[in-house]
Symmetry: C2
């Protein structure tokens, strides 16, 4: 990458970072070229020429959030053996990220879902696709745990995935809105209880 | 109540209903005197003279939402015997209300928490008070179930309350954002599993 391309990439990254900050503070619908331009010290047309339209920026934020989430929660867990060890590692990392990152910045997936739930359009569709893709990845991990015999054969994977998702949504609410420092410990206990309830079913 | 007072009450109720609609569609911060005036066909000053300032209207919406929720979920459950029958009835009614009402209108408590999580001020404080009051009512019901011997003596009430709250938040997400018709059945199964996991702990 030459110096000019590298600078362009850095500027684009700064623009998307600023848009992420806007979305975290005020929601995806608050991303405008002007709001982002103000944050990075560029003109509106400068933002547009580097990152595209408002809609392109909103989409880039959802995609960038997804990449960063997967890189921190899902990818490193792949080093654990398939099945429950991997699922445990995903949940452990998800709890840690919610406690250490999303507690302060918010979660684009969850806040976005409650922001866009009554809308229609491409932005909602993209968020829906990203969330269902993440839940499908969880589902595969649950199925691997069943195949490996770590969870009983009859374990309903969709049910368990929805329960994991609820559990982490509750954690985000309790750390970010209620600001309850006990919440991460509670979630660890809930996860242990949930796994046990399937194993002893 | 004379005819004039009755008319004033009806107008006030219409104003708060319109403000609730605004909050459900676009969030508590979107409540403005103008937005509400447009919906009810009054002038801004007409809204102000009947319901007070923007801040007063936002607070009235949170309080009215709480009253309606308690009237539909909590109050009728008081007719069940103390303990698990009452807790079961609360959860059953909460699931039904989420499926039949909040799926379409949203939940002021949950959407509001994700909207105001990084704010400070009276509105956040009021929402925090209402949510913690509701969780305290759930906690008392859990403690009664322990006293009645329906749940074991060591059951951690805060933990169970947080789990119930997470479960219903997950249901709202899955019916309202994912629009998944299976979600209410899954939540019923989660609740049965959760209770059993405490009873057999």
């Amino acid at each position: 990458m030459d110096a000019k391309t590298q600078k362009a990439e850095l500027t684009r990254a700064a623009i998307i970072g600023a848009a992420l900050d806007v979305a975290a503070a005020d929601g995806l619908e608050s991303i405008t070229l002007q709001a982002v331009a103000d944050r990075v010290g560029l003109s509106k047309s400068g933002v547009f020429s580097r990152a595209g339209s408002r809609e392109a920026l909103q989409k880039a934020v959802i995609e960038e959030y997804g990449r960063s989430f997967l890189a921190q929660v899902f990818v490193p867990a792949m080093q654990q053996p398939k099945g429950l060890p991997r699922l445990n590692e995903i949940v452990r990392r998800w709890i840690a990220r919610t406690r250490d990152v999303e507690a302060f910045t918010g979660c684009i997936y969850i806040a976005g879902a409650f922001e866009l739930d009554d809308r229609s359009g491409e932005l909602r569709d993209l968020l829906h696709t990203e969330i269902t893709r993440w839940r499908a990845a969880l589902r595969r991990t649950v199925l691997q745990a069943i195949e490996a015999g770590h969870l009983p054969a009859g374990t309903p994977a969709d049910q368990l995935v929805a329960e994991i998702y609820s559990m982490l949504m509750g954690l985000l609410h309790d750390v970010r809105f209620l600001r309850d420092p006990q919440a991460p410990h509670r979630t660890e206990a809930s996860w242990a209880r949930l796994v046990k309830s399937y194993q002893t079913a």
